[in-house]
């Protein structure tokens, strides 16, 4: 038996034989599970109970999507092109007072040309569109977004915190063109209808011969942040937009049927529930001579969790991690400081003079125990917590299996590393109370401040540098730049990539252990 194995065994025996520590480790797991499986969340669609869970349309990539818009279309068989001029784009946004909407455009309000496999929600599409504040775009199949020239007919809402800037392109009318060749769709734009610029092309695999092509307008859920001193919150609501189109021209294999107005999504949902489309009730299609005016509300984009979306993400079932974390921190810290309480440390160091080895063995023991507790608890929550929520009518965004594995292992690693960090601090400070306070202030307080008090900028900064950045391991749903949303920790979004967040916490732990080892060497026991 090597020296390290002997030390490891000695430390494991110490841990195993203190009843309080074993009970606390079990409690860590039990608390995470209890918070994860607590029922009582209200259903996402205003209803509670089994079977009332509402569903979002599923796009061609298998992801949930928002798909609501006002459409003016006719079938196209085979190849063809469509050209139109977007003359004006105006809209209404929710204000601080819900009864008094103000004039303005959401950054991702869209008005343009849309080609779809069908009007069924979630079907494959390609669109070339002007936007509220992001210039001309070519978007297809919900997650793809190519940028064209900035500017456009809409007046960008510069007072908006969640959106972008107006860009440098010229304002005013914009000409758009969509051309289909087989399953390839090319989008082009022009300021005057003479000089055309290609934006890009999209390939829609397996596109049927006959597709629907036409004009569309939609305007997404609007969300803004409010800061009243130290209190922060979110406000928002549906927005609507009106696009005015003229110079509509078509060429190619058009079937010659009449243009057909349609309001897709919103209140026209199968179960009678409004899902993603905010359905302001103002959707309309007007045609006066050559001018077509569409008013729409909703979005054609990936569905997100949070102010601009529906339901919760898997991360929100793991809220018990915080409680478990406190227990893990206390156990890790006391495992180090208890040696000093009754002078056991002298015996320990006499028996095993390699002081770094003792620290490493302690870290290995407490880390492994907490990793095991976290792994078991998170696995139970991730597997069963979703079912409890769904059974209660809460929409939980489905998560790929690999992401679920990362969340489970990440939660375990978070607990283990926090315990080891506390062990390092405890060994360094030799006083349990200071070490526990410091560890909690380092790991939990940044998250609390980011969630409750700080505005978005400092909150994101804090979650990049503090040990709390490792909560990024629990992020379940991706952020999309083409969806304006409040991507906040409460909704399960973190500023760092999962592995980067883990790396930050590991660095903190490494520094704490190194300093603790150094102190252990240099000072008297």
């Amino acid at each position: 038996m090597t020296a390290f194995a002997r030390t490891l065994r000695a430390e494991w025996t110490k841990f195993r034989t203190v009843r309080g520590w074993v009970l606390a480790s079990v409690a860590t797991a039990a608390l995470i599970v209890a918070f994860g499986l607590v029922p009582g969340m209200r259903g996402s669609c205003g209803k509670t109970g089994p079977g009332s869970e509402c569903r979002l349309p599923v796009g061609p990539g298998g992801q949930e999507v928002s798909d609501s818009y006002t459409y003016f279309h006719q079938p196209l068989s085979g190849d063809g092109t469509i050209t139109v001029r977007v003359g004006a784009l105006t809209g209404l946004l929710p204000g601080d007072d819900p009864n008094q909407p103000r004039h303005g455009l959401a950054p991702w309000t869209k008005a343009g040309l849309l080609l779809r496999a069908g009007t069924v929600q979630g079907s494959s599409y390609a669109a070339v569109t002007t936007t509220g504040a992001h210039g001309t775009r070519l978007q297809y199949d919900y997650t793809h977004d190519l940028a064209g020239q900035p500017g456009g007919p809409g007046q960008p809402d510069t007072s908006d915190a969640a959106g972008g800037s107006s860009g440098t392109g010229s304002a005013g009318p914009r000409w758009l063109r969509l051309a289909r060749t087989g399953d390839t769709i090319r989008g082009a734009e022009s300021p005057d209808g003479v000089r055309w610029t290609m934006i890009g092309s999209a390939r829609l695999p397996g596109l049927a011969t006959t597709v629907q092509v036409g004009l569309f307008v939609t305007s997404p859920q609007y969300s803004g942040e409010v800061h009243r001193g130290l209190a922060s919150g979110a406000f928002g609501g549906p927005s609507q937009a009106t696009g005015t189109f003229d110079h509509l021209a078509i060429a190619g294999g058009w079937t010659g049927t009449a243009w057909q107005p349609d309001v897709v999504g919103g209140e026209r949902d199968a179960v009678g529930d409004q899902l993603d489309g905010p359905a302001t009730g103002a959707e309309s299609v007007e045609r006066v001579g050559d001018i077509v005016r569409l008013t729409g509300s909703g979005d054609i984009a990936p569905a997100v969790v949070g102010a601009a979306g529906l339901g919760v993400s898997l991360s929100q079932t793991l809220v018990g991690t915080f409680v478990g974390l406190i227990v893990a921190v206390v156990v890790g810290c006391v495992f180090g400081t208890a040696e000093y309480r009754r002078g056991l440390v002298r015996t320990t160091l006499l028996a095993s003079p390699g002081r770094t080895r003792v620290l490493a063995a302690k870290a290995a023991v407490v880390g492994t125990v907490m990793f095991g507790a976290g792994l078991a608890a998170a696995a139970v929550v991730v597997v069963l917590g979703q079912r409890v929520l769904r059974g209660n009518g809460v929409y939980v965004h489905p998560t790929p299996t690999l992401t679920e594995v990362r969340i489970v292992a990440g939660t375990a690693a978070l607990l283990a590393l926090a315990a080891v960090l506390a062990l390092g601090l405890g060994t360094l400070l030799r006083r349990g109370v200071t070490a526990v306070t410091l560890a909690i202030v380092l790991v939990v307080l940044p998250y609390l401040l980011a969630v409750t008090v700080l505005p978005a900028g400092p909150a994101r900064w804090l979650l990049r540098v503090s040990p709390a950045s490792a909560f990024a391991l629990q992020q379940a749903t991706p952020e999309y730049p083409q969806v304006a949303n409040l991507y906040t920790p409460v909704n399960g979004y973190f500023p760092l990539a999962p592995w980067a967040g883990l790396a930050v916490l590991v660095s903190w732990v490494a520094v704490a252990l190194a300093v603790a080892a150094l102190a252990l060497h240099r000072r008297d026991a």
Binding site: G20, F35, V38, G40, M41, R42, P94, G95, D96, D97, P98, S223, V226, H227, R228, G229, L230, A231, S232, G233, A234, F235, G236, G237, P238, P278, V312, Q316, V319, G320, F322, V323, L325, I326, V327, V329, V330, C333, V334, T337, R341, V394, G426, R431, G432, V433, T434, A435, V436, T437, I440, V441, V444, L445, Y447, L448, V451, T452, V453, V490
Partner: protein
């Protein structure tokens, strides 16, 4: 009782770190309040007295450490055997410690809160905000985290947040003393108290269900106790009702501590 009280007072006075702990409490409380008051850009409708008392959020952690250490040190050093040998009536020891905590924390908290009020008065732009019902954040079904002020407040109201904050810190100190005595360990005690003060608000914020959110807010010691800081009464928790619930927490912790102290071996 007089002798016991004097003994405990001597312990608290001479124990290393205790006075610097209270000084730290004053400094961090005033410092955070000053930082907030200096950087805040209060919009109309901001609750200025509450804003100026933000430092209490951080100061309470130091008060918790203090309350925990008053008893925790006895167990850490083994002094507790001597103490209960000298004073066999254990509840009296606890009562004397509670009196010391009340006195010292009240004194330090008064200084800290007075500093906060002064700093807020000097740094927050005058006339920037009178609480009004301007902010209605619950637009269109989005859950709001901003408490919506219901009515304009009378002028004398700024006294209540200040006095309430002092009482709040004293009660947190007593709660910490009770918890530490019950678990016989400083580290575990401070872990429990900080979990109540800091983790419960996180859980409250993340829980999506409004009913559960309300229940948690009406139970958590930090959220009920700090309701006293709101200039305009919180619709869910009355200022003095909230402090009353915190009194129940503190009394409950001290009762549990007294029973455990009397029944078990030290």
């Amino acid at each position: 009782m007089g002798c016991v009280l004097r003994a405990e007072w001597t312990k608290a006075r001479t124990s290393p770190g205790m006075s610097s702990l209270l000084a730290t409490m004053v400094v961090v409380t005033v410092a955070l309040s000053a930082a907030v008051a200096a950087t805040a850009d209060p919009l109309p409708g901001a609750d200025l007295p509450k804003l100026g008392l933000t430092g209490v959020q951080l100061g309470q952690a130091v008060v918790a450490v203090f309350g925990v250490l008053v008893m925790g040190e006895e167990y850490a050093t083994g002094l507790v055997t001597v103490t209960v040998t000298a004073v066999p009536h254990r509840a009296m020891v606890l009562a004397a410690k509670a009196a010391v905590v009340i006195g010292l924390v009240a004194a330090a908290a008064t200084v800290a809160v007075a500093g906060c009020v002064l700093v807020g008065w000097l740094l927050v732009p005058t006339g920037a905000g009178v609480p009004t019902g301007a902010l209605s954040s619950a637009a269109a079904g989005l859950h709001a985290e901003v408490p919506v002020p219901a009515a304009p407040s009378p002028d004398a109201v700024a006294v209540r947040p200040a006095v309430g904050s002092v009482l709040y810190l004293v009660l947190i100190g007593l709660l910490s003393l009770g918890v530490a005595t019950s678990v016989r360990s400083s580290a575990v005690g401070v872990g429990i108290v900080l979990a109540l003060l800091y983790v419960l608000p996180i859980v409250t914020a993340v829980v999506a269900d409004p009913t559960w959110q309300r229940h948690l807010r009406q139970l958590g010691p930090a959220s009920v106790g700090l309701a006293v800081q709101a200039s305009t009464a919180d619709p869910e928790i009355g200022p003095w009702t909230g402090l009353g619930i915190l009194v129940l927490w503190a009394v409950g912790a001290l009762l549990a501590a007294a029973i455990l102290l009397a029944r078990r071996d030290v």
